[in-house]
Symmetry: C2
Subunit: 273 residues, 2 copies
């Protein structure tokens, strides 16, 4: 690939990438780290600036590397040690990219949702969800089940957090995400777009499977999910038009948050077909 | 509480509890560790042998402690340092119990499922699922959505693994679980009980929301889920009567395994009401 390979794990370029495992550095640089061939493929046109690959990975994923070079990425062949030093995990599989942050301003997200002529807005709110695995799993479900966007309130995990990125399995690049939004702003945006705020609760008023849920799920809707430890902010409860319960038959008091979200989003998608 | 409190983190009793964070020790001793008031409450009548509490926790959860003592648990007041030394996490909240393993032989689980007169058998199989968070989340969903039991094949995580136990949020004690089962034995047990083996797959033959799924989900059914990395064993695919797909509308190729399982179990529970 022309230039000499990058072989020193102590090089400044390695340090630059490692810094991006830290939220403040990501915010300052406006960039984050994407690891592994599937995630890099999902990044597609999102403007990868730097792509680091081992020789073996370059041979194994020639189209991926050529495609990103054609899109303007600087491709650097690096030693296994360099990739290991850059990686947060052992899942890099010899390929790591630096990519601009994917988050979008709230008004852009709302315009996209309202402008989708196929169906009324279908939004997901993560209210102070700080578990990166749960947050990433919900982003993945939101993508798979056709939501227009995911709004993450202040106090939620950074969606560009490494574990969150891995949990999205590429969906981070497919669905619109706004982060650091205040509950006040998000509620105001939903109201001005005519979107009904819906919370999920074991003791909710409306049965997810009952007739009252049908018009609700077919209309403009924002599902709000909180952390298991703290639930959702009182502001959301006050603003919510409806609280919905998933019928449960066993001894468990509740579902895992990401499991409950998957069920609610699935039920919404089903009503809209 | 009578005896002097346990204050040394280096005591033999602390070491005994710590050993139970290791699978081989759990198997040898037939016991595992339960941390936190909610999990200890969920253990109920499962035969807690030892309960360790800080003075603060004893004051905070008097009924829980008295209830377990009445059931025969040896209650020991211990220092914060002892509880910290015993705990795998910082989530013990001053209360840790030693409890007999909860798993049940496969034939007992099957008899329970077949003997449930309210509905035909509704089973979940986790095939070589080694992610403790995913496994625990599915056990929790299986409980909440009314499945009769969870069969975990050889190569799956030990359901008594600390992270798995925490992910079940107490459901480990509510739903029958058989572990270390070979695929051959589990398939034979399903067949002899007339249970239809169903796999979930993005390219499955039957739409989860279509008419063909209705009789399937109302009948005797075992849902098989694999790990995201390895999928399910070929034996299960060969034995499966049907493969079912969750309709997806977005760009994501798939859902998180535990999210997909939640949707499939929810759809099954809905059909049975």
């Amino acid at each position: 690939m022309g230039a000499d390979p990058l072989t020193s794990p102590r090089s400044a370029r390695v340090t630059e990438v490692r810094h991006l495992h830290d939220r403040r550095h990501r915010a300052a640089r406006g960039a984050f780290v994407v690891e592994g061939p599937q995630a890099v493929a999902a990044a597609g046109d999102h403007g990868i600036s730097d792509l680091f690959v081992t020789e073996r990975a370059a041979e194994r994923y020639p189209d991926l590397v050529a495609g990103q070079r054609a899109r303007g990425a600087r491709v650097t062949v690096a030693s296994d040690e360099v990739l290991e030093a850059m990686s947060e995990t052992r899942q890099s599989q010899g390929i790591i990219a630096v990519c601009p942050l994917v988050t979008t301003p709230l008004d852009t997200l709302m315009m996209g949702a309202v402008g989708d002529s196929a169906a009324p807005p279908f939004l997901v709110v993560l209210d102070r969800v700080n578990n990166p695995g749960n947050a990433g799993t919900v982003i993945r479900s939101a993508d798979a089940l056709g939501a227009n966007g995911v709004i993450m309130t202040e106090g939620s995990v950074d969606p560009h957090n490494g574990k969150c990125v891995r949990s999205t399995a590429g969906s981070l690049f497919h669905v619109a995400i706004s982060d650091g939004v205040t509950a006040t702003d998000a509620i105001a945006a939903c109201r001005s777009a005519g979107v009904v705020i819906v919370t999920a609760h074991a003791a909710g008023d409306v049965d997810l499977d009952g007739p009252a849920a049908i018009p609700l799920l077919r209309g403009p809707v924002a599902w709000v999910f909180g952390s298991e430890a703290h639930g959702i902010d009182a502001q959301w409860r006050d603003a919510a038009g409806v609280s919905v319960r998933i019928p449960m038959t066993g001894a468990a008091e509740s579902l895992n948050m990401a499991a409950a979200a998957a069920i609610c989003l699935y039920a919404t998608a089903r009503m809209r077909r």
